[in-house]
């Protein structure tokens, strides 16, 4: 079954431009007379109430003075934004967010290319191994992060034990206690939970490459690496791009991993902008809203990028 953008019903009754409600008219009028509203209104209402309203509220809050207990104390102008940009850790947090997103997404994409290639081969037990691959996807990201926190525990963490036994380290280490070792581990966890979705996306992309293209390459005497570079990679481009953008959005927003493993600490040494936003919420919710507005603007850019690379409306 091929599930692409929902096919437009118009394509079925094509050739009669404009007579789109044709099948309905035949069915005693019920559907068409009421119009689309009763059918789609509940969805639109829910989106307005839970997605659009908070966006408005977010922007409004960022220009207000709000007490700890939540009472609005008049307008703050752009004061909260100035306070945010003057925050001592702010530059560092922005830098770390960029680094976090770029490193995690790049590594995820590279490793997934390899995994997709591997799991596209035929070998005994392929379906079982593919099933094992989905575990980090299905399980809550938070739980996976907590699992790694425990495995990195200094006293009894199994990863410390393994590394001691392999002679990689001499003595048990508090990996999450300092910024320089906490970063790589959290990035590792972020890659780990992003791999299944990305690999499956690329696998779906690989399946759309027709077999006769490879046949032709073989006849022309192309080696495996050459075939991969000049056939597989270019044809995989659409799936790859969609994977990149969806991962950018997810990784940029991945709050639970950092929150569970270090809470962004020590200090705000390991905070991304979303974690920083959450910490600000405890002290000044309006400043936190200002941070959110910045985050939200980032997400909007990424969403526009997604709309560009996905072909959601290619039928029209």
């Amino acid at each position: 079954m091929s599930l692409k953008a929902p096919p437009s019903p118009a394509s079925r009754s094509r050739g009669r431009g404009g007579q789109s409600a044709r099948p309905v008219r035949r069915s005693r009028g019920g559907l068409a007379r009421l119009g689309p509203l009763p059918w789609i209104a509940p969805v639109v209402l829910l989106i307005l109430a839970v997605v659009v309203w908070p966006i408005v509220e977010l922007i409004r809050t960022s220009f207000q003075n709000i007490s700890i207990s939540g009472v609005v104390r008049g307008s703050a102008g752009t004061e909260k934004y100035e306070k945010l940009f003057d925050e001592s850790g702010f530059g560092h947090v922005i830098g770390y967010t960029v680094l976090w997103t770029v490193v995690v997404v790049s590594v995820t994409m590279l490793v997934s290319l390899g995994l997709a290639q591997l799991f596209n081969q035929r070998f005994p037990g392929r379906s079982v191994t593919r099933w094992a691959l989905i575990a980090p996807w299905a399980a809550s990201v938070l739980m996976t992060a907590i699992g790694f926190k425990w495995m990195l525990n200094q006293t009894a963490g199994v990863l410390n034990t393994v590394m001691l036994d392999l002679g990689i380290i001499d003595k048990s280490t508090d990996w999450l206690g300092s910024q320089s070792t906490a970063w790589p581990w959290m990035m590792f966890v972020a890659v780990f939970v992003s791999l299944p979705f990305t690999t499956y996306t690329l696998l779906a992309g690989l399946q759309t490459i027709p077999g006769d293209v490879y046949e032709a390459a073989r006849i022309d005497g192309a080696g495996p690496w050459q075939t991969y570079r000049s056939i597989t990679l270019p044809l995989l481009r659409p799936a790859f791009l969609v994977g990149v953008v969806i991962n950018l959005i997810n990784v940029f927003n991945s709050f639970p991993i950092i929150w569970a493993m270090t809470q962004g600490g020590p200090g705000s040494d390991t905070s991304t902008t979303t974690v920083f936003m959450y910490k600000l919420k405890e002290t000044d919710i309006a400043e936190s809203a200002a941070m959110s507005v910045v985050n939200f603007a980032m997400v909007v850019v990424l969403v526009l990028l997604f709309l560009k690379v996905s072909r959601w409306n290619e039928e029209d």
Binding site: I47, Q121, I246, K281
Partner: protein, 301 residues
Amino acid sequence: MATATQTAGPGPVKEGPAGPAKRTVRPPRRGFRPRSLVIAAFAWLLAALFLAPYLEMIVTALRPADELRDRTYLPDKLDWSNFIEVWRESSLGNNLQVTLLVAGGSTLLVLLVSLPAAYYTARMKFRGRKWFLLLVLVTQMFQPTALLVGLYREFYQLDMLNSVWTLILTNAAFNLAFAVWILTAYIGSIPQELEEAAMVDGTSRFGAMTRVTLPLALPGVVTAVIFTFISAWNEFVMGLTLSTEPDKQPLTVGINNFIGAYTVQWNYLFAASVVAIVPVIILFAFIERHVVSGLTAGSVK
């Protein structure tokens, strides 16, 4: 459909190529050669690595309290009582109850609102159809994290913090897109002629909808249901922000609170985690094939 853009020929490419292509990629079955055994060994190793963190959680959940600090890979004896004690000793039982209500409630709500919308969108062409689909797609990309402060302020003003209803509404809203998208694609792929034939035989439109189209769209409905349920079950940030009273928080937040305690009882923590993780991994296996197309808005598959 990835090839569609590459060839970029005139006219839309119908859904055909993906089907036959899939078959031609696979070589005929004739036993496995040594090369594929090497590949298999590598793949099995990777699969084990992917499962390892979850197996370690299960092992920890079975460790007796006095063996928690031992640097051993496996405990000397297994302590199954952790699975019972954790619910008795902590308040996680309340959190599990909240999670069940929220996941069940939001799944039901998603189904109730998305089925009619998907049916209409798949069957009718109407003004604003494209805008509706765009709105739905964009909400899929907006995750709650960036909107947390706005969500908090909204439900604070409505005096609806610490309410199961709030979590049901919010979880439903952020998972609507996937359901609408996948259901529209499924229903759209079912020939309308089937419904019309049933109506010629004297069935009402509603009867045709519920007794002809819906059963055929069942795989899509099941996918939407399981996906929504899992997302709501796993949700953390909204639960953390919109519920501040420990008893009103979902299981993920409750488990995370365990870490804040003075001495973390890891065996209890993971006994609860295993309950939170294992069912969804098994459920997910049923829908894995359909999820990619739903999440990428069908642009990959």
